[in-house]
Amino acid sequence: METAEIQSRSEISKDNLARWVQFSFLLLFSLITTYPLFWMFTVALKTNAEQVRNPLGLPRHPTLESFTQLLQDQSIIQYTFNSAFITLVSVVLVLILGSLAGYSLARMEFKGRGIILFLFLTVQWIPLVVLVIPLLVTVQYLGLYGTRISLIFAYVSANLGLAVFLMRGFFRSIPQELLDAAVLDGCDDFKAFLYVMLPQVRAGIAVVAIVSFISIWNEYFIALVLVADKAQYTLPLGISAFHGMYGTDWPKLGAALLLATLPTLVTYIFFAENFIRSTSRSVGFGGR
């Protein structure tokens, strides 16, 4: 509780000035953040000729030509489908396996728990570049080269470390009485897990789902190495391919970029707070 202070008029206007400067600064950076995206949007709405003439300005006669042209080339639909399929399956698997492993590491006692925990928590920091060559070898050996399944397995494994870390944290915060009550009611471990513990960690599931969704949907490098067949390309690979193919047709590129970024952006608009909080949490902060 501040004691009432009598401010002189010059002090009040200094305060106001400071506030205006703060606000403008934040506004400035907001513009810097969004302008490239906005520009991308305007580019997609121009014709190629207009884009060459007028790279920076707004389209005189906005047209959806680039989008129709892009969609006529079936490939982007294929890429989107691949990405959607892979991401969906991977996220679901990450949630299931992450919860199972996280729960057992949180609330069960067994030999080797420390080692397994270490493996999940520390080894996940190894950059994927390190794994790429042997991963390729493994995938080829298993006859999975170029398939979407190989990507799914790779992505799930790559995200499992974080998922286990997060889910374990959430499971540990559940009071023991809940588990005791479940045991009293005659639950075995699995039933307790499924019906009692899992519903308690809905927040954790949301965090893991969001973080792995973004990471997998946008992933480029592993896909670059493991996928050779164009029909199996994910969206990031497709964008890279378009960049090479349509190098000079910027509206089409802009349209492709928009289509690639729209899913995450749209979900973000609705769930921005959740996304931000999930990211903080995944780095180790309680949700704010």
């Binding site: 995206l37 991308m40 570049v129 490098f221 960049h243 921005a272 996304f275």
Partner: protein, 302 residues
């Protein structure tokens, strides 16, 4: 009363084998092992071989490692990484701190600003790379157009050895500053208000308050940001840099990870590139270790 009922745990302790744990962990561990741990171990093994991917690998002992440290291109890539980390630390952290500070003090529209400034984190690095390649385009790009209108000569942002790295760093900063800002906000939010109130009794100067109260207490979050910047330069940036410059021109933007990739998939030197990945991991572990150690040496007294 609890001992009268035998929960599964007690039964398990008697039998010494936790069946449930095995059931719960088997599939996750299997997947993790085959597609993550095993490849990591294989990398280490491969680093002692010479292998072109087609014929059988040949064991060569430490030859790869001694070659690496005499390889000027590798040393160049280390330099690139160092530059990237140093530039990042000096741009991202101050920027993140500044914006976090403004945001925390801001009354109106905080949630809006935070959400907007975080947007670049939602984008795939490929999309960012392609987008900024267009922006930086020396003839058709918006920057080129601005320069043309001002009567100045266009700059080849990505094609000139002297500034291509800087151009990439601008893009990198654009992508990540929202992330670090969010981290610092989280850190700032956990500083108890009492400290600020008591500081206000000592001084009116908010700059002084920032440097002597806020900053030291942000030690942990700054540590996290620093570690992420360092490890990110080895792992995440490869996608962005690859799309924008492929490590060029003249290897001026060739990160260690990019050189590893090229040496493996263009030059087919799988053993050699595996050795480089081992060195890289050792670097990361060493640097992060030192950073964490240094940070933990600073003790805060209230």
């Amino acid at each position: 009363m609890r001992d009268a009922i035998l929960p599964n745990e007690k039964i398990r302790r008697v039998s010494k084998v936790n069946v449930s744990a095995i059931l719960f962990l088997s599939i996750p561990l299997l997947l993790y092992f085959v597609f993550y741990l095993l490849p990591a171990l294989t990398s280490v093994v491969l680093s002692f071989t010479k292998w072109d991917g087609l014929t059988a690998p040949v064991f060569v002992g430490f030859q790869n490692f001694s070659k690496i440290f005499r390889d000027p291109r590798f040393l160049n890539s280390v330099l690139v990484n160092i530059k990237v980390v140093v530039i990042s630390l000096f741009t991202q952290l101050p920027l993140a701190l500044l914006l976090a500070y403004l945001l925390v003090k801001q009354l109106k529209g905080t949630a809006f600003f935070r959400a907007v400034l975080f947007i670049p984190q939602m984008l795939s690095l490929v999309a960012v790379g392609v987008l900024w390649s267009l922006i930086y385009h020396p003839t058709n790009g918006p920057l080129a157009k601005i320069f043309e209108e001002m009567g100045m000569e266009s700059i080849n942002w990505l094609g000139s050895t002297s500034i291509s790295l800087l151009s990439l760093m601008v893009t990198t900063t654009w992508v990540y500053f929202g992330f670090h800002m969010v981290l610092q906000i989280a850190g700032m939010s956990s500083i108890p208000q009492e400290l600020y109130d008591s500081a206000k009794l000592d001084t009116d100067n908010s700059l002084e308050v920032f440097f002597r109260v806020t900053l030291p207490l942000l030690r942990e979050t700054l540590l996290i940001s620093t570690v992420m910047i360092i490890s990110g330069s080895f792992s995440h940036l490869i996608g962005l840099f690859w799309v924008m410059t492929r490590g060029g021109p003249m290897q001026s933007t060739e990160l260690i990870s990019i050189y590893i990739y090229k040496s493996a998939f263009s030059a087919h030197q799988f053993g050699y590139s595996s050795a480089m990945t081992v060195i890289m991991v050792a670097f990361i572990a060493a640097i992060v270790g030192v950073v964490v150690w240094q940070f933990s040496k600073v003790r805060i007294e209230f």
